[in-house]
Amino acid sequence: MTEETPILEARGLVKRYGQVVALNGADFELYPNEIVAIIGDNGAGKSTLIKALSGALQPDDGELRLDGAHVRFRTPGDARRAGIETVYQDLAVAPSLDIASNIFLGREARYRGPLGLGLRLLDKRRMRREAATHLEELKIGIQSIRVAVESLSGGQRQGVAVARAAKWARRLAIMDEPTAALGVRETRQVLDLILRVRERGLPVIIISHDMPHVFELADRILIMRLGKRVAVVTPQSHTMSEAVAIMTGATQSELEQAMTKDEPAE
């Protein structure tokens, strides 16, 4: 990777909760068309970093750049309007609504003209059609777009959530432990889906505890410790155990070694 402008870039993010420093000058960058995984022990600051990137919280210090331009997200809505969609681990879907309604949740399509403007009439056919085409493109096999999300398996539900993010994200998608609540087979389906989302040209940030998955999916792996980015590695440059060693607090020399080893890849 050369002088390409990152899609999303963070410099020196700081977030304090009283005496606790959750982020202590964290850096981050995401380049076009890549999957970046963020790993780190509990309390390393992964979630705080993700929340700062998705507008769920505001950092006390540091700056965010989107396509090179300075931005500030005061709410998740700001980030969403900027083209950043987030998938949450706890399945942020409305179980009693059907798949099409969930994909269009909060962004319902109305009829054009007086029916839509005056009577606020929803264009259900258009939403169903678009949702069905979209799921087909992502190869999510679901019998009918009209079934309620609650009748789907956990994997299919998360599939709907990922598909929703992929549909609306113009710049990038953030996936916060998207497979944490899923079984083995379902996890596989969601991972394949994330790869397909990237193939369609959408860069992805993913948080996961699962090292094999991280090493399978990610182009680059960002390792957090004590509120800082301590290393950026790739599946080619490091083994899983090396990554875990860095994550859990390897010696300083090992760290430096890891950093220098990382340089050529950058």
Binding site: P76, G77, R80, T86, Y88, D90, L91, A92, V93, A94, P95, S96, L97, S101, L105, G106, R107, E108, R110, L119, R120, L121, L122, E150
Partner: protein, 326 residues
């Protein structure tokens, strides 16, 4: 028989389908009373059932909105009683133009809706406690404002919705027509607009609603305020039917009947599931039981008994199907 047994699954699916359960209950109840009493199925009696249902039916529309958001509104009938006193006292004792009096009465109910909604949405108090409070406040206002007087000899504008017209020898109350129109509007708003989707989502998964950028507080405020509006219209229907402004109105059966109608209609007390058409059926079921039991000469206290049993049955079905989904 285990919970996975096909027969049980089928029963649960049928009972879980939005309006099938309530419809079966309605048909069974009507069949029972048709056998027990010759006059039950006569057009004039069925028309009477609807006339008796119209007030509770309209109250239940607002209650459906609220329960869909996983809330509850205990104040519905007392707020209606207050609206009824405002419009009748203004028109009779204060000489206010009847249409203005009606508007102000409805506005008083909308005000209570706003208060409920504001406390639930902004102060984040549980709906049960908020509306228990406003129930008592509306009760107090009703008696203070009316000085416990009853207002009669109302101007004709206030009585319009109690009037009837005749089709093929069956008289139909204008208020019943209005009730059906309101159910139609409510159905449209809940099923054909984005607002309706958001109401369901807030009751279904409030966190998901927030994360998807739905303005949850605005939805809650609009729901309670619209509910207040329906209570105001119910007040007008009540005045039309009783031809009185009565400070003791709406304090016995209407509160529970409205909630019973919603629950019998298949709307889940857990929020996010239900239909306003189910509520209409539920309201008619309540009306059929009250009317039918009177026709076959059962004492009034047993009507309370039956309503109580019905509501517990309906909630049990709700609980059972909800557990199945979770």
């Amino acid at each position: 028989m285990t919970l996975a047994h096909p027969a049980f699954q089928l029963t649960r699916r049928v009972l879980g389908a939005p309006t099938v359960g309530p419809l079966i209950a309605l048909i069974l109840a009507m069949a029972f009373f048709a056998v027990k009493s010759e006059s039950f199925l006569q057009g004039q009696n069925l028309s009477l059932v609807l006339q008796q249902v119209m007030v509770v039916g309209v109250l239940a529309i607002g209650e459906t909105f609220v329960i869909l958001t996983a809330g509850i509104d205990l104040s519905c009938a007392t707020v209606m009683a207050f609206g009824q006193i405002v419009m009748t006292k203004l028109a009779v004792a204060k000489g206010v133009d009847p249409l203005v009096a009606i508007s102000l009465g409805i506005l008083a109910c909308v005000g209570f809706g706003l208060l409920n909604g504001g406390l639930v949405a902004a102060v984040k108090l549980p709906a049960f406690i908020v509306t228990l409070g406003t129930l008592n406040i509306a009760f107090a206002f009703t008696h203070i404002y009316s000085n416990d007087e009853t207002y009669s000899e109302l101007p004709s504008q206030l009585l319009f919705f109690g009037r009837t017209f005749t089709i093929h020898g069956t008289s139909i109350t204008y208020g019943v027509v209005l009730m059906f129109i309101l159910f139609g509007i409510a159905w449209y708003a809940l099923t054909q607009t984005a607002w309706g989707r958001h109401v369901y989502t807030v009751g279904d998964n409030i966190e998901a609603a927030r994360l998807m950028g739905i303005k949850v507080n605005r939805v809650l405020l609009s729901v309670y305020t619209l509910a207040g509006l329906t209570y105001g219209i119910a007040a007008l229907l009540l005045v039309g039917r009783t031809e009185l402004g009565d400070p003791n109105a709406g304090q016995t059966t209407e509160n529970l009947d409205a909630i019973t109608a919603v629950v019998l209609g298949g709307t889940s007390l857990f929020g996010g599931r239900g239909t306003v058409i189910g509520t209409l059926i539920g309201a008619v079921v309540v009306g059929v039981f009250r009317n039918g039991l009177t026709l076959i000469g059962v004492e009034v206290v047993w009507q309370y008994f039956v309503t109580g049993v019905l509501v517990i049955l309906a909630v049990s079905v709700d609980q059972l199907t909800h557990r199945g989904r979770a």
